[in-house]
Symmetry: C2
Subunit: 672 residues, 2 copies
Amino acid sequence: MDIAALRQANPEHWKKATAIRTLAMDAVQAANSGHPGMPMGMADVATVLFEKHLKFDPKQPDWADRDRFILSAGHGSMLVYALLYLTGYEDMTLDQIRNFRQWGSITAGHPEYGHVKGVETTTGPLGQGISNAVGFAMAEEKLRAEFGQKVVDHYTYVIAGDGCLMEGISHEAIGLAGHQKLGRLIVLWDNNDITIDGRVSLSDSTDQRARFAAAGWKVLACDGHDPADIDRALTAAKGSDRPVLIDCKTIIGFGSPKKADTNSAHGSPLGDAEIAATKEIYGWPHGAFDIPADILDAWRAIGAKGATARTEWEGRFTKLSGTKQAEFTRRMAGEAPKKLESAIRALKKQISETTPKVATRKSSEMVLEVVNEIMPETMGGSADLTGSNNTKTAGLGVFSPEDRKGRYVYYGIREHGMAAAMNGLALHGGVKPYGGTFMCFTDYARGSMRLSALMGVPVTYVMTHDSIGLGEDGPTHQPVEHLAMLRATPNTYVFRPCDTVETAEAWEIALTAPRTPSVLALSRQNLPTLRTEHKVRNQTAQGAYVLAEATGKRQAILMATGSEVEIAMAARDLLQAEGIGTRVVSFPCWELFEDQPEAYRRKVLPAGPVRVAIEAGLRFGWDRWLCDERGRREKAGFVGMEGFGASAPAPELYQHFGITAEAVAEKVKALL
Amino acid sequence: MDIAALRQANPEHWKKATAIRTLAMDAVQAANSGHPGMPMGMADVATVLFEKHLKFDPKQPDWADRDRFILSAGHGSMLVYALLYLTGYEDMTLDQIRNFRQWGSITAGHPEYGHVKGVETTTGPLGQGISNAVGFAMAEEKLRAEFGQKVVDHYTYVIAGDGCLMEGISHEAIGLAGHQKLGRLIVLWDNNDITIDGRVSLSDSTDQRARFAAAGWKVLACDGHDPADIDRALTAAKGSDRPVLIDCKTIIGFGSPKKADTNSAHGSPLGDAEIAATKEIYGWPHGAFDIPADILDAWRAIGAKGATARTEWEGRFTKLSGTKQAEFTRRMAGEAPKKLESAIRALKKQISETTPKVATRKSSEMVLEVVNEIMPETMGGSADLTGSNNTKTAGLGVFSPEDRKGRYVYYGIREHGMAAAMNGLALHGGVKPYGGTFMCFTDYARGSMRLSALMGVPVTYVMTHDSIGLGEDGPTHQPVEHLAMLRATPNTYVFRPCDTVETAEAWEIALTAPRTPSVLALSRQNLPTLRTEHKVRNQTAQGAYVLAEATGKRQAILMATGSEVEIAMAARDLLQAEGIGTRVVSFPCWELFEDQPEAYRRKVLPAGPVRVAIEAGLRFGWDRWLCDERGRREKAGFVGMEGFGASAPAPELYQHFGITAEAVAEKVKALL
């Protein structure tokens, strides 16, 4: 690349782009860690995007109709931090950039949602951003269909690197986006031919353009260092009836005499000497973090432009009816409608009276029939297990290019892509996503589920077939460690309801939790209604509670979740028949019980009686509750699985693995 | 489809294929669960493959040079069970097929490796089989290069469905296979246009042929119900310089008058009436499970053919030198060379004397320098973090189309694909795979890691950057729950060594464990050598052991793993200085400690002293060890993480999150 020629051809552009490059180099150098090469390579593309195409207002970063910009290649975080500073986002000060990657700063190593205004989603784990973007674009289509193009009319732009495109999740995302013809999704591929290990040719020979075309995308290309060509491609990308890939040919570490176009520009500081040599080539005589006033002014003017568009939008918005305005505002704020509480309550009452015996996956459907009726913001879906997950209720309609008002998504066999898209749907706002698969396949969705938790995105995972109760499909499909894995994840509610009433309560919490994702672990097999006495209070919100009190002297406490609460109740009958006073504690959510005051926890699990936990999963983690609050451990036992399951009808598996009322009663008596 | 015409065109083929179809229908009906549609649809393809192409000998299912057949669409398990029965695998009796999906039978819902001879890998979780197959094909290339085409010369055939191809892992697998030009890999795509939710067009519009071509595959197609066309395609697939996709156009539930070509043929019994009607169309007057002798004989003759090829192979094998024969046999048996033990011992001794201060990821490299020299079967790799995982030692060479003897794989940014390929490498036999990524990205590889455990495949996962010690990259890259998640997984050794000596011991166990995968959780940051006194015994094999005894009365026991053992030792110094006798237990592997006799466990963790565990992860699971063996819980504490990490230099993070020697000493004193 002839940098001198580029400088001369468009000096105004050059200076703006170089401000990004130098901030990235300087911040990484100051932190003595980070990734300078990617921002240096993509600075030209980002400059043209922000200057000529992106609709945003730094003074109102949460403006509902802004274009979304997602840096899927999150290691290039300094690119977005530099852009936010330069365009005038108030919390992105130069001090924050000087403190890149330091304790207490908002400029984390990878962009983190909630830390920084203007960062739409947390990225860094590769492939997540581009997959979130599919959800963002779906939300936009959905809301545009509902509220009209005058108030919803924006694009989702993504910068993705080779890493994002090699990850399997990208396949699921581009397949879903192509199928859904998400024309407002534009992906800028930082095609720099370099990965951490060296040239892409070390590990990959994929023709990415052909690959995206095969998935139904429109494919464009540009010279990623030629502003006119970038602008041409971006202009051509808009108004497409399909998602668009722009192959931006770039040079990593652009301009660095020794490191450009090599993997040594990727993940380490360039070093003072190399920075000096690079700035020389850039024609940038300024010191570290020094952005001359004229260049900063030019950038700030770009940021200021957005106010006009935003004001015009406000004008259009106020022309909506008052009801529509209120609804739009409620939806974007993620507030559940007021009548949800009473509807759940009414359902609980009805269930307590009619006591249906159904699988909790069916219970979940019964709850969703009520919820989806009164919450137009829900968007359901399943990774090709609709009839098994019971996620599709009457009248949802199917979200498709032909029906953007449809509220049900056939995600296909794409668990990871579904989870990432749901994160995007929730982050965009205005919709409330839930989606299902078999609980065992949380394994496939893990990468995105962790990000739901880390970001605090209230997505609901409907995970059915939650134990050996799945039966004949066998150990590949039977979760045993998954409850432990999910409970080990911070900021995640793991609900394992025992009947329809608890399922309704769990859904209520999931739909109203502002900053916590929820997992509903639901049975394949039928379960009796155990909550036969209607309680207004959401008992599941306490995490654990006394479902059946001991008669006579309390000698044992049985703790159980989900399908094993029925077994605990039967064991209680056996024990009480022998005069052994036995309390049954239903334990649908560990995390919420942990959050209760110690006094409540002690009340539910007092010291003294023998404790036995029953769960058709592994014991791992249960010792937390088998030890009592006073620091003494009572005699305690566990009835559950000791390893992987097997293929056989569920009732036989319960017998063979010894998860029965009789086994529980024996265990209690042995401990007494 | 005109079935009458097909019957007439090739009645011998028709009968053989229909034997498969009817066994599948009958078994699913008898089990009242299962997937008849796929075997019915792919019976013709499978018949041609087994009759005319697959090299196998039912009498010697483990013959090293057999072609490998992998049913990636594992739900169609009755297809492979029927084939194994018909061709004469001894343990696959008709009784086993009658007991499909029942307790104690080998005919599990999904094909399980180790249960059934002839099942090369456990499938069911979609996309795994096709991704394992990449490892199988790599192993074949590697061994052919090493031992010569006369003894290693076989193909890997895969049947994959739309589900396999939609899963993200398939993208990683086909990208890797295309890049590696694995010409011995032939994938038969069961292109039936149906998924569980309905037609593929509900959720996907990908042009699969174009997609595979974009990844560098040769693409063929055939009518999946025309034996001549299938044979033509299979013949054309062989001898390719690239992996081959054969698009087999099929009809799910082929022949079923009401269910063919619909999703209702996928996952439920057809029902007696529909079976009768289907058999009528098939021209199959026989009862359930009834295979007429002439048809069975024809199938058995196909199975018997393999003996010739196998005998010829044995003749060629015995012409190898005795040393080569012994080496090949050792390699295929997965036995470590005898000198491994002494080499590890020598390294330990040297380390105890030289006491290097290095990160355990570097320790791992030091061990691998020794191991790779004496174990030519190792194949290392990394998901694009070679320099960070320290997985590439001198002289390994790079496995590539140009160098099939290369022993290092640049897997690219494909954690899931790498893990699945490693399963395939290990299952093929003759090579011993290990591969690295950041420990946080076990999330991406989880689906395959679980299968390593379920199958009992001794793969080694080199998971570096195992805590907040990773520092500035921040919480997206800092595992906190992952140790718990991995420990919760059955049949997985999770090693978190504290120094180079423990790392060497962990590697020794990983390389010699016959049926258990291992995870090495390794630090980014430097750690001192703590095992300064040489011990011949592998102390890590005991799971936990006393690293430093209390001086004076034992009042506290500190348990720690990995990078926190150093902190425990420093805390011990503080406490001993105050006269508080403190034992330090290094705890590199929970699973192995659990396997110790209770007497040993009590000796290491006697009742009485205060117990504090220190680990830069979550407490989840630790209560198992914080409670003592006698059923009483001593005062116990935990110093570690309470949630996600943050972006900052590692030493600051340890300070801010309170994981310090001072905090440990304070905790002990508060508990005393």
